[in-house]
Symmetry: C2
Subunit: 715 residues, 2 copies
């Protein structure tokens, strides 16, 4: 109960009082009697709205037609409910996934069209599962999961199956005969709930996105079966999840890529709660965090709608993914935020429910804007919003927007990476300074069933796979998730009010014992420059000397650098552990100047990073792909700037997008950086002054302290 | 004169008779008197047509507005004609390029708009060049070119400059005062022609695309100055170029990438000839080869309009490049082939001339088709069409087209590669079995001035960089261009009449002494398969045992293979020369089965190659990038199937595109090949029988001989 706010507590007390007053059975019967079907996500009103909108709103009609076509094909194929055998991507896995999706859709079609064949298909599917389910033990491939399922190799998929199948049942409840209902409820749903609650107790009670699916399945089953014990158990856990997984800003603990998936059960469950326990006012809970979160998630995309690939993320995932459809529709339905219509239009499909009807209607009325506006934004991390966060500075609009993202929040549960104070830079609609993301080929069964590959742990998560300082060639927290899990960086400030000088600053004292890392990144539109530059001041403090490695994973072709490197004839791994074993040492160099530069180009533009160096600076040019027995890694490239035998050290860099590479008209402008130098001119514990100058003699002074950063032109 | 056909000879005789009869001076004066200005590409009629069409045809109007904007900006910047200093990409290089382009456009604007500022700008530019030109020696960066220029580092650019500047002069001829004309003609154009004809004699007389620019410049200058000696010299060379660089099918000796550039002077010169010596009927010459060639070139693009990257090719180049605009407009003007309108619409700009008006008009009338249709086609190589060729088999349309391309023509002059019988496969709008193309970063001045890099010769051109058999780890012709230059493969047959079984076969006995290479490739749409498979039968015959390496450069992620490989911890070059020094040996395997397979995926689809093996077969997984001191190579991946100590050997393979990877809806279908095995069941000098079978028990027999190939279902 500790998870409840006062208001919620009141509402639930009323609920529990009812339960206590009437006794469980009576109350359950009471709900059962009151509940009409369907009433989870699709409601009686929703059915009427869909029917009414089919001809009027093209997107709704198209979705309906597509759904009909899919289900008709499934009906033609006949129902097959195979004994579970294969892992992700394999035959039985894909078949059961197909089944729950087809059944859920058939239920909706029955409600909307009244065509009996859909009800028959849905009911027969339920009965076939009811016949099989009681005989199922643990899935034969369950050994690969920390929480095996029965129908699928991991219980997560079983929970998703339940969420779909209970909606199916809700849709055909009235169609089923009482004896069919008894079979379906007793042999299937009560047993499935038992599995979800008892066998998967750990997951059901876990503060984790997997738990959200279990909770969703149990809660929805409770609503349909009129079982208040299920509802109560699930509701308690649901609120605990909402309280702990989201920050007050709506930032989700595992980052945008996982929220894409995680919000699915949150959105559906909240909708079912809103439809069945409307007095809870669930969407207003925690200052409407469940409405904020999807908007925050969409802000954390690149201009093509791909999610910023924090943590374990498949970089191909974009907002067009099916799992994002309900998030967009549910939030639009309750906020009427028009920016969501742009996303819905790109998705090209809507929910067949009240939510989807509203979206399709608004799009038909021409309300969808041409683009989704992305802004500079700082998102606090942690349930109370005091565990650092993620900062995004942006300049320009739409296709012409440059973004820089810094991550300084919590570890992010088991999908987290050791990437405190790492950054990414976006331009030309893609990542220019890159994060590798997850090492995984999702759904490619030949690549270990589509699961995370071992290199995800040995490389993807490690600090050296990120654009942040690695101390002594080790990962943050010694690559221990247990240690990392309750640590976080701290936000110092974030200021995007001045479009010409936006700045964010964060500090971390937890990642490396005895070392404090303080990074300040500014997006600076100097004078009348069309494009901003990124100024990056990374200050490291320690009482002991260390090796500090700062990698930059760049996209494109390196065309010039200020260092004289030796390219190795044979390639060997750069190190033995903490991810270094996966980096080939391609070339290396010593630096004997005060600063050096790296210029590369990609598509239509050049990029130059000028960075301060010391007499001990070395540079390694690396390529990902060493120690890769199954040839799973992509050959990404980076340069690593190393400073060794230093204790306190501040590196200042300016990263400039410049010039134009015009391929059709075959000309090049501005292939060289406009900047000449950058240097740290004052450096103390709590402040740093940096000067940066252009080749045409202009110069600026950047003054950074713990509370603020400012810039002024000095020449 | 030997290059003339009878008909041409007649026409030119008339011309020469006139010259002889009236004496050179008189005749020249005669032409001069007859010639109105402008009359090269833009004519008086063209000016009227452009004026008339500006308001009516949006594409013409847009091109005009854009041109006006560009030139207005140039006028605002003022004229700068710097003393030549920089190589390609550098300041003076780009400035002079900008100048000739701006001047040429200003001339056109003057003609069309009658606004005096354009004439003044063009004239003043001419006068500034006239003031500078006589003082110029060889360009300071000329040492990097086999034929240095004066204004540019290579004379090629000087010739392009001349072609633009003489059109400029033609446009403002009437505007210039007689004394200005004298200065411009004597100090600039006569000297420039002298440079092009005398100093660059080798280039001017060369059968080569560079020569085409010199010839164009000299011929156009001849027309404008009324100098019949110039015209005669240039015409003779022009016809020699047309006779020798194009095959009767319009295939250009250097391949489609270079024709893109080479056709520019051909199209402009032929247009100027048509406007000034119309009785020559130049576009009908050699069975209209100058109208065929651009159409052939456009057939040799992928579905996104990128040129098949034969030989030295920059893979980014597409039909939207500026150099393709005039080719499309000129050919449309004279053929009214509507497919060209699709390309013109994608280019989004037209010539400001009669040609461009016709294109813009047709597009305004809605005549542009939605797509450009690509067909299966065999293009003969060699001036007489008997030197092998290029075969392209295609199945499906537009975005859903699969293509396989085999190259079995001539070497292709100094931009040729040692790639006889190499193939590429296209699907999903891109190359799936890839050709590396050229090692060059065009116009990136930091990469050796944008010139070809040394690795172009040591890797890009070498046989092992291509998807064809390498014998004894050496390149074809011992990588000697001199030897390769007059050798060619022979086409055996090409048959695309049966859409379900298209086949092409070619043989080469010149690439390796004592070794005959015979490759037959079929595109086979078995039974009711949606997608065809590629069947590849490569027969090698020799009296001596050799090492035969067959690389497959694949795009995507390898997900499974039938061989058990050891991935190397340290990467070393696979060999020492012939390109092997640039390949890292990533992993290797021995094969102990009769066939093996490789499955990879890219974007939405899987690909499996099943290939026959012998007890001596080894497999190497390689990555490009070894011995690369300037880090210029892309990390492309290949597997190389090696058979050693065999003399006669036939390898048969089936390459199947299969399955679907649906990312938004997160499902995978058909991740495994439908095929089970392939084997060579009969093998003699002149014929091979191959059987290929699917996992569901179907089997086909492919019978190949020197004259034909057939397939029949046997199970």
């Amino acid at each position: 109960m500790s998870v409840f706010t006062e208001k919620m507590c009141f509402v639930l007390c009323v609920f529990i009082m009812g339960w206590v007053m009437f006794g469980q059975a009576v109350f359950a019967q009471g709900i059962s009697a009151r509940m009409e079907h369907p009433n989870l996500v699709l409601t009686k009103d929703g059915v009427a709205a869909v029917r009414n909108g089919l001809e009027k709103y093209p997107l709704l009609g198209a979705t309906f037609d597509k759904t009909k076509k899919d289900v008709d094909a499934s009906i033609a194929d006949g129902i097959e409910v195979p004994v579970p055998k294969d892992a992700g991507g394999g035959y039985t896995h894909e078949k059961h996934k197909h089944n729950y999706s087809a059944a859920n859709k058939a239920g909706i079609l029955w409600q909307v069209s009244g065509e009996k064949k859909y009800a028959v298909f849905a009911r027969d599917m339920l009965l076939k599962y009811a016949a099989l389910y009681p005989s199922l033990g643990v899935h034969p491939e369950g050994k690969n999961s920390s929480s095996p399922g029965k129908i699928f190799w991991q219980s997560l998929n079983d929970a998703v199956w339940l969420v779909n199948m209970i909606q199916t049942y809700d849709a055909v409840y009235d169609f089923c005969k009482p004896q069919e209902r008894r079979i379906i409820e007793d042999s299937l749903f009560r047993k499935a709930v038992e599995f979800n609650v008892i066998d998967c107790k750990k997951v059901f009670n876990m503060i984790h996105n997997h738990g959200a699916w279990n909770v969703a399945g149990v809660m929805m089953t409770g609503f349909v079966l009129g079982d208040s014990a299920m509802i109560s158990d699930a509701l308690d856990n649901f609120l605990a999840l909402v309280n702990n997984l989201y920050s007050p800003d709506g930032y989700y603990i595992e980052g945008p890529y996982y929220l894409r998936y995680a919000y699915w059960p949150f959105g559906l469950t909240a909708t079912a709660i809103a439809n069945n326990l409307s007095s809870l006012n669930i969407f207003a809970y925690r200052d409407s965090v469940l409405l904020k979160a999807p908007l925050v998630m969409l802000q954390m995309t690149d201009p093509t709608g791909h999610f910023l690939p924090f943590n374990d993320a498949i970089k191909e995932k974009a907002w067009t993914s099916q799992e994002v459809i309900s998030a967009v529709d549910i939030v639009y339905f309750r906020t009427k935020n028009h920016s969501l219509l742009h996303v819905a239009a790109e998705q090209g499909t809507v929910m067949l429910s009240s939510e989807g009807v509203e979206v399709a209607k608004a799009i038909a009325e021409g309300k969808a804007p041409k683009s989704f506006k992305r802004y500079s934004v700082m998102l606090r991390d942690g349930a109370d919003g005091n565990k650092g966060g993620v900062g995004i500075l942006r300049s320009g609009q739409d296709d012409d927007q440059i973004s820089v993202v810094m991550k300084y929040g919590v570890y992010g549960m088991e999908h987290g990476h050791y990437d405190k104070l790492s950054f990414m830079m976006y331009d030309q609609n893609r990542d220019i300074i890159k994060d590798y993301g997850a090492v995984r080929y999702l759904n490619i069964v030949q690549k270990r069933g589509g699961r995370y590959l071992p290199e995800n742990k040995t490389f993807g998560k490690q600090t050296v796979a990120h654009n942040t300082i690695v101390v002594d060639e080790k990962s943050q927290y010694g690559a221990s998730a247990v240690i990392a899990d309750d640590k976080h960086s701290n936000a110092l400030y974030f200021n995007a009010d001045n479009g010409n000088f936006q700045v964010m600053s964060a500090i971390d004292t937890t990642a490396y014992s005895g070392v404090s890392l303080w990074r300040t990144m500014a997006m600076f539109k100097y004078d009348i420059a069309e494009k901003p530059v990124i100024i990056d001041v990374f200050k490291v403090m320690s009482n002991e000397p260390h090796i500090y490695d700062l990698p930059y994973y760049y996209a494109g072709t390196l065309v010039e650098t200020g260092v004289k490197y030796d390219a190795h004839k044979e390639w060997s791994p750069l190190g033995k552990k903490y991810g270094y074993q996966h980096l080939f040492n391609v070339a290396e160099a010593s630096v004997d100047t005060n600063s050096t530069f790296f210029t590369w180009y990609l598509d239509k533009r050049f990029y130059t990073l000028i960075t301060t160096t010391t007499p001990s600076t070395e540079v390694f040019f690396v390529q990902v792909g060493a120690t890769d027995p199954e040839m799973s890694l992509r050959p990404e490239k980076a340069f690593i700037v190393r400073n060794k035998n230093v204790s306190n050290y501040t590196v200042a860099s300016v990263l400039e997008p410049h010039g134009e590479y015009n391929e059709p008209f075959e000309f090049v402008n501005g292939a060289y950086s406009n900047f000449k130098n950058i240097s740290v001119i004052k450096d103390s514990e709590n402040s740093v002054d940096v000067s940066v100058g252009t080749k045409d003699g202009r110069e600026w002074l950047l003054s950074i302290d713990r509370n603020n950063a400012t810039v002024k032109k000095i020449k």
